[in-house]
Amino acid sequence: MYPDYMLESIHKVEQTRPERLEIARRLGKQIYPAMTGPEREAILSRFHPDYKPDSRRAVRVGVNKGENLTSEIADLLESYSRIKPEQFDLKKWDLETDVLIIGAGSAGMSAALTAAQQGVQVSLVTKHRLGDSNSMMAQGGIQAATQRDDSPVIHFLDVVGGGHFDNLPALVRALVNDAPESIKWLEELGVMFDKKADGTLLTVAGGGTSRNRMHSARDYTGAAICRVLRDEVYNQPDRIKYLEYTAIVELILDSHKQVIGAIAYHLETKKYSLIKARSIIIATGGFGRLHIQGFETTNHYGATADGLVLAYRAGVKLLYMDSVQYHPTGALFPEQIVGFLCTEKIRSIGAQPVNKDGELFVWPLEPRDVESAAFIRECVERQKGVVTPSGKVGIWLDSPLIDQINGPGFTEKSLPAMLRQYRRFDIDIREFPMLVYPTLHYQNGGVTINDHGETTLPGLYVAGEAAGGIHGRNRLMGNSQLDIIVFGRRSGLHAALRAKKGVKFGKPSLQHVLAYEKEVAELGINPKKIAPILLPDYIPDHVKAKQLTVEYFGNLF
């Protein structure tokens, strides 16, 4: 529960609530003026974390060399391999498959199911358990222009407007075109979307959408989709072999300059193995666990950008890796849930962001980057934030409005996960607002692909958050759940077709790793860094100070 001094601010929120409720009743969603283009640019340049002076720097190695990237990404890329290429006998494969998929969130599993349907053998590897991913944690919804007053054309406009018109049109087109079909595909696999009794899909707005286009499954949308895909993967053991607690640490190329395999590492046994494949799909997700600029994150434990490192070392260009998405509403109190996602759907269905005096200061449904910048301005420049006992500053998300606008019981029906999350810490979000602040959420950019999910390296495909270009420099709510299905299926199909057509394998090689490491060595970075990092390191300094093993011998360290 909130301490007394915070309750004083909540009291002010309660005092302005009837008036704000009245505005919502009168004006619907348009309770505050939407920002114009120049207003958006102005607030972003002043308050969005991407615009801080040292947020970006030129990367000094690889195919994007000289380009400004998010500093933590440049750091990650200027790293050595986990392996020594000369220790591997590339003639001895431990596993041979048609399509190898790296990562088992909803993108990887959609790809696996689609590829398997083509009759090819699929191997799906994940460093966690099957389905453990950011996909599973998505709450708010999945976009698709299914409603009569909407269309793929309007969806297209919303996507590129949110992305600052940097999106690759061919990818946006694929996204909006395949969206309704993707909803149908999921329904036929047994995903339960929120519906009216007559079957009409229920939709709400998201930040930056000009129509109600968000389909949800309570506030467990990602889980509802991901668990069905996982169950379906379980059901097809003859076609899809899955390997858990297995990370991929390098790609293997060949003399024809194509990708033909990967080096796998088992997290428990620490054994490496070689997997040969006709096509490979990277579906490793994003980078939240890199804690860009020290931000807390909404992301899964494994969101360490492994796929970016693999593709980049193999010579594939990254796109828009200078852009980071901070979700406006990360939890800020209590301490145990700081950084956790408070779904955008909370605002979609009527909650309003207000400052310590209970004043509305921004339209709740601006695109995420703009909304986040407005929150930061309110706290930093205007000093209208609420300070937590540990000194963090945030703004209120006035959730009690939801039931007042939509009727009693609405929060319970629409946001069971949120209600449960706060109830665990003795806060009833139907009675008290939630204290929030922007939290590191999404990797807007990623590996460059075309509308088949193909990269410039023959045989290599990328799907989901690891890919770049679809969302430009800012993704809208619900387009990630969509993108993982659309590009999961597209990459799965085309990877399978390539495998079926037959691939002429050349001489396997890890030369690209050696060449890359030579570039890194020239930088003389000390101490050396190794990537992919696979898991974040949360061991505190006082323990580290006593972890004094000089070198690791065998398995004991």
Binding site: Q30, A34, H128, R129, G131, D132, M136, M137, T146, Q147, D149, P152, L157, G161, F165, P169, N177, P180, E181, K184, E187, E188, L189, G190, V191, M192, F193, K195, D198, G199, T200, L201, A205, S210, R211, N212, R218, Y220, G222, A223, R227, D231, Y234, N235, E268, H300, Y301, Q336, I337, F340, L341, A417, R420, Q421, L535, D537, I539, H542, V543, A545
Partner: protein, 227 residues
């Protein structure tokens, strides 16, 4: 080195560690120096990877919870359960009937339920697990799908069940049967898919795809917002 925060003693698999009061179990284990590979996942209560059983000081009860959502207390003793050996029957969802027959064939153990309610008490999501198992016994797929919807598959119910039921896998089947067969289809969705297949939006998308940034921007800020 001493931590200025208030500390409590927690027994992680029987060994005592001093950790800051107010930590979740995950935070406590990491503070103690564990590099977690299993028994950890989304860290926000959505993936079910961190099921943990524990006893509180002076309390006879064996409790269950998610390590990312449960706050430690002084004298708490705990063990993580990173994996649950559970039966998962294989099926083709496209060739089932959404009724009691599917349950009889695929989850016969459901009919062993003795209505002891241990599963419900074990559920960290406070789901009425026994009630949805009872619904399945009656062949009420819709009810079971609805009641079990918020399940995150941590496995604690199945571990405590004296009838050896794997509740969460039965829940997945119920939800898929409901979504696939019992939920009515949306006519708008079918119409839109047909329109797209017929190429209705091709020309407009061609045009948008070819616009320069400035023109696209102009089009965007002029678009009608209908919410």
């Amino acid at each position: 080195m001493s931590d200025p925060r208030e500390m409590v003693t927690v027994l992680i698999m029987g060994e005592a560690y001093e950790v800051p009061a107010g930590s979740t179990i995950i935070m406590a284990m990491e503070y103690a120096g564990f590099q977690l590979k299993k028994g950890v996942g989304c860290r926000e209560g959505f993936c079910g990877a961190c099921a943990t059983v524990y006893r509180l000081k002076g309390d006879y009860k064996l409790r269950g919870g998610l390590a990312c959502q449960t706050v430690v207390s002084d004298g708490m003793t705990l063990a993580q359960i990173p994996f649950v050996p559970a039966e998962k029957p294989l099926y083709d969802i496209q060739n089932l009937t959404p009724d009691i027959n599917a349950i009889k064939v695929l989850f016969p153990t459901v009919f062993r339920c003795v209505a002891c309610n241990t599963c419900t008490k074990a559920c960290p999501q406070e789901i009425k697990v026994m009630d949805y198992i009872q619904a399945l016994k009656r062949g009420d797929i819709a009810k079971a799908a609805d009641l079990s919807f918020d399940c995150i598959r941590c496995g604690l119910c199945a571990l405590r069940c004296p009838a050896e039921i794997v509740q969460y896998n039965a829940a997945t089947l119920a939800q898929r049967l409901y979504g696939r067969y019992l939920a009515k289809r949306s006519p708008e969705l079918e119409d839109r898919i047909a329109e797209i297949k017929a190429g209705k939006y091709q020309a407009e998308l061609d045009e948008l795809s070819s616009l320069k940034k400035e023109d696209l921007s102009q089009r965007y800020y002029k678009r009608e917002i209908k919410l």
